[in-house]
């Protein structure tokens, strides 16, 4: 190296310049003669930056073309400290590419990067770390490790991001560093900036994907940050969280999965085993508690949903697979629209999306049915896309849409693309097997295709017809005859073999033709393909067994031909068959059964989708696409039987890790503008280098020690970092202040929101409280001087909180009906107030157009008067006003006035029979117009229901003046399930998606039974239909009266008279199907009690028990 530099000194740069100047970068690359390289060396050694740049450009172009430029390494590497940025960058490119091959020389560059790591400019620190970690030289592993550790606690989020990127690099270089790296990952996972989140999760996935325990504490934070993370990070995080959720939460479809599975399986001919399985499962179901979604599970679903709108197909797919694997069945539907949208994208995207859609359509057909037409095929689609679309169409086919689909298929068959035509014919075959109604139509269509001019079409049809005929051969002997004729013309071996097999199998249906076909085939035997030969032998054997008189000689002849065939399979088969069918002395007992063997009834083939069962791979993954495990694929775990402790995700708020909130980056940027250009090295060389060296020494010493040292060493280095360091600290303080300011602002907003919005889900609640605590410590001093940038910050913050509160109400809506959880009690207070207010409003509005009486009288009281007469408690029941508010009818929020833009909607279950349709649940809805203008045309649109559920809309409200409210009654048939009824509430300007989910207790009406009847009915509903639980009554449940009140508040039941004063009995019927629901509460000594529910519908029973338990133990 020194020699060459001396050389350049002598010559000087200027002399050589014209020589190279005319040579463009691309020109001399192909001639890899050594002279060229000498030139390049010379240029690199010159002291003119332009020459160096020119040389580096040419070298990089060589690398790009895959030419070897490694012999220039010494000349290049010494330019690593060059002041010209572009030269420097290109040197980095070169270094990263060849360092692995020239490890010793590469070490020369290390000190430059070490110096860079100490640079006050965060971008230079980051870039130094990036290049340092990209040099794959094992000797520097300790240096890298140290650098990563230090960078992980850097104050700049960008440097921390780079540290996260460096982790997998180091891991692949030296897997033994794993333990230390995991510590760094753990630390970075706790980072609160969006910039770091994606990168560190990527590192986590590459280094320690199985350490799910590291995620617990960060789960909620990741969920909340997700929307602001850059798109690539989003994909990685979502995929990881999908896996995480599968280990931590319960299957949301646990109750439905049984029903669903059984119906699905009927589609593919159910087996006996499955029935048994089902029974077992039903039994376990009875024991199982009703499902309540973990709020964290809900948080994940809620926070990923908006990402379905991402422009990045990978993000959309990631969310789609998350919903597919994690969401309750009723909610999965929303991904369909987004996936269909992706189909418009590039054909590669289409290809991947269609593969995933194909898998989804098998599990959840209903989801894509509305989008059937989006899968129609255009003649300009590439063949691979066409075939995938065909697959999806076939999966979507059912009784109702089959005629449209078949019509589409008909046009496809005429296509010029023959592979596609063949696939279409197979698709028709599959539709025909799956949907019995159209089997004959399909068969006729396929038979018509037999006269098609194209041989491939005919051949494919033959194969498919063969499969279809196997299902019902008796009716179709004419088709078999027709096919026998075809044997003269069709040359495609597979088709010929299929025809022969058919004739052999059903030779009894075509007794005259079969021997003749064998005769013809015997003639051409030698020229046939192997599969055809085998079928000829089969045909001969079968005919010999059924019609030996005519075919004995022919069979002998065929077997003789086969005996001397070139293929050993065929020779084998011939020998085997001869022994089996031709009786000889030795053949023995088997001979008798030959006919049974050959002409046994064979089960019809099941035409299955190739995508069946592919969903055991995580959707959207490479493994799913290939249907084989790719390296590094993490299995999607099964749902746990019982949920692991959710409290592991609770975060203690006083975090020791310094939080660099968003505004840090902003700040940095501003301050950095004054600084010198990127990559610059302008400061003196001596001081920093030394300190860097000494640093690395101590580093390698302490490196073996555990991470607890790490923070210590970090702070040490900071101290040694002299003045710059203290400056940074100042910065920190400033930032800290800013943050405080911001927090103050949000805090100011919060109380207002809280009162308006009622409660928060417990998790976020905790977090916020924590934040507030932090704020309170620091609140005072700050004045109003806000810079613009932090203002916009506030805005985003505001949005966030808005989102939170909004979705919180959302969650509550879903949660309350299933179970009224005890911790909510305190918050109900505030709600009650609003309730009562609205009740007053109702009274004011007595002459509402709706027919049902508006005052929410306790239905029970009026109807039970007579029944309960004589009981000591009646009069108190009759005076509901004196009872605690739980006896009142609960109002639920359907639309908050903020989301509804001033329109507030609440609903309650009035417990009145819904007169137009007795099997519907009456829902009383109250609209309040809080805006200044009138709202018009309130009505319902687009109900989206689970199958069987129906809705009876209320008459359209023409006008609702400002400030007014109105109450109407609508009927919903919930089919005795607690599935939510989803629909759109429309005004003249807007539509709102709302849903009503009934608590299980509202799905019934009181039934009036005598004591004897009750006992008789109860006797019928024993065993699995009886659920009984022990409980301890709550403090307030002191007497029978309170129990009655609690039970009737929870469920719409009537009391049944009873002799014993230790027992309370209640009876009701489910609204839709009229199944009896019997409830018995037996009180015992010391506040203990036993609750027994008898109901034919076990799901209702279990859910009711749960609700009752809660009501009674309060």
């Amino acid at each position: 190296m020194s020699a060459s530099s001396a050389f350049s000194d002598e010559k000087g740069g200027s002399a050589s310049e014209p020589e190279y100047g005319h040579d463009p970068a691309s020109g001399g690359i192909f001639s890899s003669d050594y002279k060229r390289h000498d030139d390049l060396k010379e240029m690199l050694d010159s002291n003119k930056d332009s020459l160096k740049l020119e040389a580096m450009k040419r070298i990089v172009a060589m690398i790009a073309r895959g030419k070897n430029a490694s012999d220039l390494f010494p000349a290049v590497v010494k330019n690593v400290a060059c002041k010209n940025i572009e030269v420097k960058k290109l040197v980095y490119v070169y270094l990263v590419r060849y360092a692995e091959e020239q490890q010793d020389l590469a070490l020369l560059s290390i000190s430059t990067f070490q110096r860079g790591l100490k640079d006050p400019n965060q971008l230079i620190r980051a870039s130094a770390l990036r290049v340092l970690s990209s040099i794959r030289v094992t000797i520097i592993v300790p240096i890298m490790m140290l650098a990563i550790k230090e960078a992980a606690s850097d104050m700049s989020p960008y440097v921390r991001k780079t540290a996260a990127h460096a982790i997998p690099k180091l891991h692949s270089l030296d897997p033994e560093q794993k333990d230390q790296l995991i510590e760094v990952i753990e630390k970075l996972l706790a980072d609160k900036t969006t910039l770091v989140a994606g990168s560190v999760v990527m590192a986590f996935e590459e280094v320690c994907p199985d350490r799910i325990d590291l995620i617990h504490k960060n789960y909620r934070k990741l969920c909340n940050l997700l929307i602001d993370v850059e798109e690539w990070g989003q994909v990685v995080i979502i995929n990881m969280l999908t896996r995480y959720a599968r280990t931590q939460f319960l299957n949301p479809n646990i109750n439905e999965s049984l029903l669903e599975e059984s119906s699905d399986k009927a589609f593919y001919a159910s087996d006996d085993e499955e029935d048994e399985d089902k029974k077992a499962e039903v039994a376990t179901l009875a024991k199982r508690k009703p499902y309540v979604m973990d709020p964290d599970h809900r948080l994940l679903l809620r926070n990923t949903k908006p990402l379905l709108q991402s422009r990045n197909a990978a993000v959309v797919m990631a969310v789609a697979q998350l919903y597919f694997h994690l969401a309750p069945k009723a909610e999965v539907g929303i991904i369909a629209k987004a996936l269909v949208r992706l189909m418009r994208s590039h054909s590669e995207v289409q290809y991947v999306v269609l593969q995933n859609v194909a898998t989804m359509t098998i599990k959840r057909r209903g989801m894509f049915e509305p989008y059937l037409k989006s899968f129609y095929i255009r003649s300009t689609d590439p063949t691979q896309i066409k075939i995938l679309k065909l697959e999806v169409l076939t999966n979507l086919a059912n009784e109702t849409n089959i005629s449209t689909i078949l019509r589409e298929f008909q046009t496809y068959i005429k296509s010029m693309d023959k592979d596609f035509v063949a696939a279409s014919i197979q698709a028709i075959g599959r539709c025909a097997t799956n949907i019995g109604e159209v089997r004959d139509t399909c068969l006729n269509g396929l038979v018509q295709l037999l006269s098609n001019r194209d041989e491939l079409v005919v051949a494919e049809s033959v194969v498919v017809i063969k499969k279809l005929l196997q299902m019902q051969p008796e009716q179709h002997s004419d088709i078999i005859k027709h096919m026998a004729k075809l044997i003269d013309n069709i040359q495609v071996p597979m088709a010929r073999a299929s025809i022969l097999w058919l004739i052999g199998e059903y030779c009894e249906h075509v007794p005259k033709i079969a021997p003749d076909v064998l005769r013809k085939m015997a003639k051409t035997f030698n020229n046939e393909e192997d599969i055809v030969k085998l079928q000829i032998i089969n045909l001969a054997a079968k005919l010999y067994l059924t019609n030996s008189k005519q075919t004995k000689l022919l069979t002998q002849y065929v077997l003789n031909l086969a005996k001397y065939d070139q293929n050993y399979d065929i020779r084998d088969r011939a020998r085997f068959i001869r022994q089996l069918i031709v009786p000889t002395d030795k053949s023995g007992a088997l001979n008798k059964y030959a006919k049974k063997l050959f002409l046994a009834l064979k089960p019809a083939p099941i035409l299955e989708s190739p995508f069946k069962d592919r969903d055991h791979f995580q959707l959207g993954s490479l493994s799913h696409l290939l249907n084989a495990k790719a390296g590094g694929y993490q299995e999607l775990p099964d749902w746990p039987e019982s949920a692991p402790d959710p409290s592991v995700r609770n975060v203690e708020v006083k975090d020791s890790i310094p939080e660099w909130s968003k505004c840090t980056s902003r700040k940095d940027r501003k301050e950095k503008k004054v600084e010198k250009p990127f990559y610059s090295d302008s400061e003196g060389e001596s001081g920093p280098t030394e300190s860097a060296d000494s640093e690395s020494d101590t580093g390698s010493g302490s490196e073996s020690a555990s991470a607890s040292d790490e923070s210590g060493s970090g702070s040490e280095s900071e101290e040694s970092g002299e003045e710059t360091e203290s400056e940074e600290e100042e910065e920190d303080e400033e930032k800290e202040k800013k943050r405080k300011k911001r927090l103050d602002k949000t805090k100011a907003k919060k109380p207002a929101e809280e009162s308006a919005e009622s409660e928060q889900s417990s998790g976020t609640e905790d977090r916020k409280r924590g934040r507030k605590a932090v704020k309170n410590q620091k609140s005072a001093s700050e004045s109003e001087s806000e810079s613009e940038s932090s203002e916009s910050e506030d805005e985003s913050e505001e949005e966030e909180s808005e989102e939170e509160s909004e979705s919180d109400t959302d969650i509550r809506k879903k949660k309350t009906p299933v179970s009224k959880q005890p911790p909510k009690q305190s918050k109900k207070e505030s709600k009650k107030e609003t309730q009562e207010m609205s009740l007053l409003d109702l009274d004011d509005f007595e002459p509402a157009p709706a027919s049902a009486p508006v005052t929410p009288v306790n239905f029970l009281s009026s109807s039970l008067v007579s029944d309960l007469e004589g009981l000591s408690l009646t009069d108190t029941i009759l005076a509901p006003t004196t009872i605690a508010p739980s006896g009142l009818i609960k109002m639920y929020e359907l639309l908050h006035r903020i989301t509804g833009e001033g329109l507030a909607v609440e609903y309650c279950f009035s417990r009145q029979p819904f007169s137009p349709e007795p099997n519907m649940v009456a829902v009383q809805i109250q609209f309040t117009n809080n805006t200044n203008s009138e709202t018009k045309n309130l009505h319902i649109e687009e109900p989206r229901m689970q199958s069987g559920m129906r809705i009876r809309e209320f008459a359209e409200i023409d006008m609702l003046a400002a400030g007014e409210s109105v109450t109407v009654v609508m009927g919903i048939d919930f089919c005795d399930s607690t599935q939510a009824a989803n629909f759109q509430l429309c005004t003249h300007t807007r539509k709102f998606f709302v849903s009503i989910q009934p608590p299980v207790g509202e799905l019934m009406t009181p039934a009036f039974l005598t004591e004897n009847d009750f006992k008789k009915e109860q006797g019928k509903l024993m065993g699995m239909n009886e659920i009984s639980e022990k409980l301890t009554l709550g403090e307030k449940c002191v007497n029978e009266h309170v129990i009655v009140e609690r039970v009737t508040a929870t469920a719409n039941l009537s009391r049944v008279p009873c002799g014993s004063d230790k027992e309370c009995r209640f009876a009701g019927k489910t609204v839709s199907s009229g199944c009896l629901v019997l409830v018995t509460v037996t009180t015992k000594e010391g506040g203990a009690a036993q609750l027994t529910v008898n109901c034919e519908k076990m799901v209702i029973g279990t859910m009711l028990v749960k609700d009752m338990m809660q009501a009674l133990s309060q």
Binding site: K373, S379, M416, R666, P677
Partner: protein, 418 residues
Amino acid sequence: MIHSLFLINNAGDLFLEKHWKSVVSRSVCDYFFEAREKAVEPDNVPPVIRTPHHYLINIYREKIFFVSVIQTEVPPLFVIEFLHRVAETFQDYFGECSETTIKDNMVIVYELLEEMLDNGFPLATESNILKELIRPPTILRSMVNTITGSSNVGDTLPTGQLSTIPWRRAGVKYTNNEAYFDVVEEIDAILDKSGTTVFAEIQGVIDACVKLSGMPDLTLSFMNPRLLDDVSFHPCVRYKRWESERVISFIPPDGNFQLMSYHISAQNLVAIPIYVKQNISFFETGPSGRLDITVGPKQTMGKTVECLVVTVHMPKVVLSASLNATQGTYNYDPVTKILVWDIGKLNPQKLPNLKGSLSLQSGAPKPEENPSLNIDLKIQQLAISGLKVNRLDMYGEKYKPFKGVKYVTKAGKFQVRT
């Protein structure tokens, strides 16, 4: 993640390779070449190819195959989406993404690839950030560079990377502050033989060209936002505002970008602007066929249909066509078997017609299927869905920007079956 990238042209020449981890021999591409040969058409190369030690994920764009090498599990769409982003960046930088431009700008391409991925994981894919790091070549700059030897690498700090709004660079300054929006809608439709709509939908995008100084915060609202049922946004758009208020609120990237795309599905009524009467028939006797196509306006909302082109992929047996067009010109390419009839502006008074005979290869059986017609058209000043931008408001800056909205309707995948 992404290990290496190879660029391969249509002829099968590998003209660029880039490795982000240790070097993977280019012989791995042999598996790709094998698949490429098997697929016949470049469209039919499977996007994911499995080899014994690697997986190749490729896209085909502008006659270039971008072949990436993967070693472990990664969502395929992640890679595909990234490769497309690479192609778009090239397009953005060099005006077009072709083999020649890539070869001419080899060093910039290499620098770009270096910045876009770190260890195979995307680092900077926003064009605004990249442009700060590496300046796109302009004629003027390349001249200056050759004379003075200065560089393409930006000497300012790529601060965008650090910002919470990475898509916008800081300190933007324009003398003319302007914001233009193009609402472009494409009609995807399949019409059957009789002219009834089998399937139709509208795919819309709003392309923006925003050249505003400072940090403007824009709000775009529509007259009829309810039309937009299925949308996807540029990351700059605030989802929450859209969800609650149905307005698009964003801090725009600098320059050209796609603000949003939307999809109006078949359920809503999609207006079909033209009708096509066609009769294509082939005869068994005598090597000939007949073709007769007439195009007329249907629901054009009073606007003129322009740039009308009818493309027909003829069956292989069609040797030549002797036709007569009342308007525009036609051209039949006997090699690719594509008939293109370029009509131009549609005159509702005098409907354009193309009529004549086709000559078939003698001896060959008559084709089974009639070819389908692909229609291309353009209607200026109309968004066929009826979408209308209401207003654009700007906050955060003092000056008054020029604003403009343009509407165009085009035919997307518009196919008429015969």
